[in-house]
Amino acid sequence: MVEVREVSKQYGNKSVVDNVSVKIEKGKITSFIGPNGAGKSTLLSMVSRLITKDTGEILIDNEEVGQCKSNDLAKKISILKQSNHINIRLTIKELVCFGRFPYSQGNLSEEDWKHVNEAITYMELEDIQDKYLDQLSGGQRQRAYIAMVIAQNTEYILLDEPLNNLDMKHSVQIMKVLRRLVDELGKTIIIVIHDINFASCYSDYIVALKDGKVVKEGPTDEIINSSILKDIYDMDIKIENINENKICVYFS
């Protein structure tokens, strides 16, 4: 379980994350939603130790993130940021191999190779595994990065806007993979997501942030509700039931 207790973060005088406390259950997809600048990405980065918190505690399986050894944490929690610009030229396979670094420290064992190949198969990248990342389309590249995260084989997977810049087909593909990772492999996934309908269709639990504070949290069914969404986004959002999914209509 990931437990965030009264965490705050300030940039200069501006409070980006303000006294936030949330608990994230194991074996579920939890979505962080909210308007731009709500502090979602900052919170995710703090949980994954990419940036440090000013005050508060973040516990992963009852251990404080700041106290853990970095390499041990890398076997427990992985993060994928929204922009992954890499300066060096890598093939998909080489990238996925990097995911094994916490275990192999650079020398891949047979066990490591097994995980690498499984991750590539899982993301259906076998055909293009020797292609360079800069030759791929946005969707393929995102799948390659997710394959790397799968090879890292951590219990917790944190994704910052994994659907950024993807078309509908690839977005659905990625979300289905995430769902399978939770249902089949028992992973715990936390995503920051802007498309509220993807959050509604694929996540189990939703945490809504606004101005650095948690405005609402609860099971998906509870949160996808016109009056609650109005609190979060300050706009009227109609909700329709289509094929047992709650779809938010906010386009006009």
Binding site: S78, R89, F101, Q152
Partner: protein, 316 residues
């Protein structure tokens, strides 16, 4: 395997060049010529390796292929120290004339400078590495201006001596210093060897490196200190020569086409030795000492740098 073969070829070519350098026109005075040339080659190998190595690591840390450690202002600091000592004490003073003392003072001050710079910048956590570079660049410019200021004030004859130090030269390397430098560099290389596995991961950038379990701040801080010491030693030994690093590391990238540092480091080191020994051969045999090595290196490096910039622009 392919990479190993390329590294092997580079190594063989370096050895060949060194052999030519040692034995060309030896005549009958082996006892006189060989030790002298041997020392020169040793100095070249040591400084070449140190510069190539620190540039590879520096570019990895900064994730930027057109930077060299000289951006941190160490070269300018070296020139400032040299100018300052001559400005205050004059060129005939013993401190200036004694190369050992000069070497120790230079290395000491340069390492101290980097140490203070890192200390100040890393005290506040979360500081961007580019902020460090910016500070280095600004301080480097300041040092340069101060040097120029003193250079215009001193006696023209004294200026000749300062000017002599502005260009890297292997023509009169001190034996004692060489020994100290070799011991220091080998010692640090051994200390450094436990960080070598992190380099590949660091080239993915800070966020990925942390995600993959690298204690980023700890590792980067130590690597930067190693770089500062290597650059200081080689600069104090032969003069400002960091520009060479840019050239050889990029040639190594083009030649090896890999991201793996175990190849890149060795490749750069050998290319650096080839460039220096080859350049020194040209200086001695073609130009008969009418120019210095760093002039040739800077000329070729400059042309290559412009080529790099033009090519980068095209690929956008």
């Amino acid at each position: 395997m392919k990479h190993n073969a390329k590294i092997g070829a580079l190594a063989a070519f370096s050895v060949l060049l060194i052999a030519i350098f040692l034995f060309i026109k030896v005549g009958n005075n082996w006892d006189y010529v060989l030790p002298r040339r041997g020392l020169k080659v040793l100095a070249i190998v040591i400084t070449g390796s140190a510069i190539a190595f620190s540039t590879v690591v520096f570019q990895t840390i900064t994730n930027n292929r057109i930077l060299t450690p000289s951006i941190m202002g160490l070269d300018s600091l070296y020139m400032l120290i040299q100018t300052f000592v001559i400005f205050i004490f004059g060129s005939t003073n013993l401190t200036v004339a004694n190369k050992n003392i000069n070497f120790v003072i230079c290395v000491g001050l340069m390492v101290l400078f980097s140490g203070v710079l890192y200390k100040v910048l890393f005290k506040r956590e979360g500081q961007n590495i580019y902020f460090l570079l910016l500070m280095g660049l600004i301080l480097g410019t300041l040092f340069q201006s101060l040097s120029t200021f003193m250079q215009v004030l001193i006696d023209p004859n004294e200026f000749q001596i300062v000017q002599d130090k502005m260009f890297a030269s292997f023509n009169n390397v001190n034996t004692d210093l060489l020994l100290i430098a070799i011991i220091a560099i080998l010692g640090i290389a051994i200390y450094f060897s436990r960080f070598i596995k992190y380099l590949d991961v660091l080239s993915l950038g800070r966020d990925q490196a942390i995600n993959l379990g690298v204690d980023y701040d700890y590792v980067v801080k130590r690597l930067l200190i190693v770089i500062a010491i290597f650059v200081s030693i080689s600069t104090a030994l032969v003069g400002p020569i960091t520009f060479l690093g840019l050239l050889v590391v990029n040639v190594a990238h083009e030649f090896l086409k890999t991201y793996q540092h175990k190849y890149l480091i060795f490749g750069s080191v050998f290319i650096s030795i080839i460039a220096l020994v080859g350049g020194q051969l040209i200086v001695e045999r073609v130009f008969t000492f009418s120019t210095t090595l760093s002039v040739i290196i800077n000329f070729i490096g400059g042309v290559y740098f412009i080529y790099l910039l033009l090519r980068e622009r095209k690929s956008w």
